[in-house]
Subunit: 304 residues, 2 copies
């Protein structure tokens, strides 16, 4: 089993009403792989610059994440700066310095190529396609994307969506991509492109998972303390894919449980800045919160 994830490893500078953290560890592949590592083996493909401290690599390795595919090239590491207001829902991007990401050519190490699970985190769809060409016969491929690629490379993105099993996307991006205000219709349109499932992330409102003929709704866990939503989407995807790789159960039931585990992981991640909460998270806590999700959503059936 095990998962390969291709995405970014980054420095983030994040401002929320509760504080500001400069040059902390971030990036889609970082959040994804850390979250998934609670469930399965993870192999990471990303690029960093000469300024990336060994301490962060050591952390990833301490989570048993294979960093063979982490390229280190001349230049500076990708740096994102963002700010959240009191509603903590939408980040305002203050600055994006692509740096080494501009020259990123994802190369899957030989040992990664027979991996059964692949997650294409949010990067240029042309690069996502190049990664797809390097894997043999994965059992499950999922991808994420963002508004920037939807507007700048919609055709390349469509080609990727046709090749993957599951698309994981924000609510606003599903609407943007299809030009359809109604989310159910937007979901049907994206699925009609060729993927089998669409997972729509709605921030504090949870997640909807669509197939051509079913919908599953999971709420976000209601938290009294939300410090930093950065990485919540990738942490969700990591829990979701990690649990699937762990069980190998790709039935509707298995996928629904995976959605809940993804939601559990995201709910922890937002409780502290950067990956601080993930660093001290225990598996026991994941189990307890899964049970809390059950209590949060369950109601007695009625037979009419």
């Amino acid at each position: 089993m095990g998962i390969v994830v291709v995405g970014t490893v980054a420095f983030d500078t994040v401002e929320t009403p509760f504080g500001r953290e400069e040059n902390v560890l971030g990036g889609s592949a970082t959040y994804f792989s850390t979250s998934a590592s609670f469930f399965t083996d993870v192999s990471l493909v990303a690029v960093v610059g000469e300024d990336f401290p060994q301490e962060h690599v050591t952390f990833l390795q301490s989570r048993n994440i294979d960093t063979t595919g982490l390229q280190r090239i001349p230049g500076k590491t990708f740096h994102w700066s963002g700010r959240y207001g009191y509603d903590l829902n939408e980040a305002e991007t203050l600055d994006t310095q692509l740096n080494v990401l501009m020259d990123f050519q994802p190369e899957l190490p030989e040992s990664y190529r027979d991996s059964e699970y692949l997650f294409l985190a949010n990067i240029d769809p042309d690069l996502q396609m190049k990664v797809l060409e390097q894997v043999e016969k994965p059992k499950l491929v999922a991808c994420d994307t963002m508004n920037f690629w939807i507007s700048s490379k919609p055709e390349a993105l469509k080609k990727v969506l046709q090749k993957v099993d599951i698309v994981v996307i924000n609510e606003g991006e599903a609407r943007q991509f299809t030009g359809e205000a109604n989310l159910v219709k937007a979901a049907r349109q994206i699925i009609a492109l060729g993927c089998k499932r669409l997972v729509v992330k709605r921030g504090e409102y949870g997640v909807l998972m669509f197939t051509a003929d079913s919908v599953f709704a999971a709420p976000a866990y209601p938290l009294e303390e939300v410090f930093d939503p950065t990485g919540a989407g990738d942490t969700f995807a990591g829990g979701f894919m990690g649990y699937l790789a762990n069980t190998g159960d790709l039935s509707e039931e298995g996928l629904r449980q995976a959605i809940v585990f993804g939601s559990v992981m995201a709910s922890f991640n937002v409780e502290d800045f950067s990956l601080n909460r993930m660093k001290r998270l225990q598996y026991k806590e994941i189990q307890t919160r899964f049970a809390s999700f059950k209590a949060l959503t369950s109601f007695r059936d009625i037979s009419f």
Copy 2:
């Protein structure tokens, strides 16, 4: 059993991206009582003007709603005009003509006073209090309110909240009332005022029900066709209270089922303008959609 509802009966002029309807039947008490009438006996207290057509009264009576408490006084009926954009989430109020509502003094007919269930729909909190003084020993009282009363009469509103069992409120209004951005904290603060439960309506994102030590999350039913969200909140409350009055089961389990029935009713109501969908709704459809809610939200438990 049976419910008394005090609120508005109105003419609405509504504009959505799908059309415009002028002077159609609306009002919080209308939506609430029609929805509740699928589950229990309903008695209505409201005021209309001389221009209110008998046809609408006949409709309410055809739903077995007791209109003894529907006052008809000189002047024109309350008229609300609003517009929805493509997201259909928030109405923009274009015009409010209070008309006869300015002189409304709710009077409970003698036959209403021993009612066990009472819903105080969104009206002036001073009037809500006057109604509370006219009932004997209700088993359950719930109330709604709106941003206008939160900013203009916060103290009167607090007094009402202390006297009711359940507060039903929009997400934005819960935040506005408490000045607290975090919804869980806002909910705890409102409950601390004296009510036992808080039901937070989140439009297309569903509902959260809080007590001091529990939360229940129900999604909104994902619909491909949403025509007009007007009255969704009151239709929800009608299904919620109607089911409670029908079963008399005020346990956590009973209340959760009632939340789902409320959500079911709201999901039908938005499928057409005004009360058009309610007028042709069959109880069989309510049962089917309750089952769909179960399918929408259920996932297999895990014993660790």
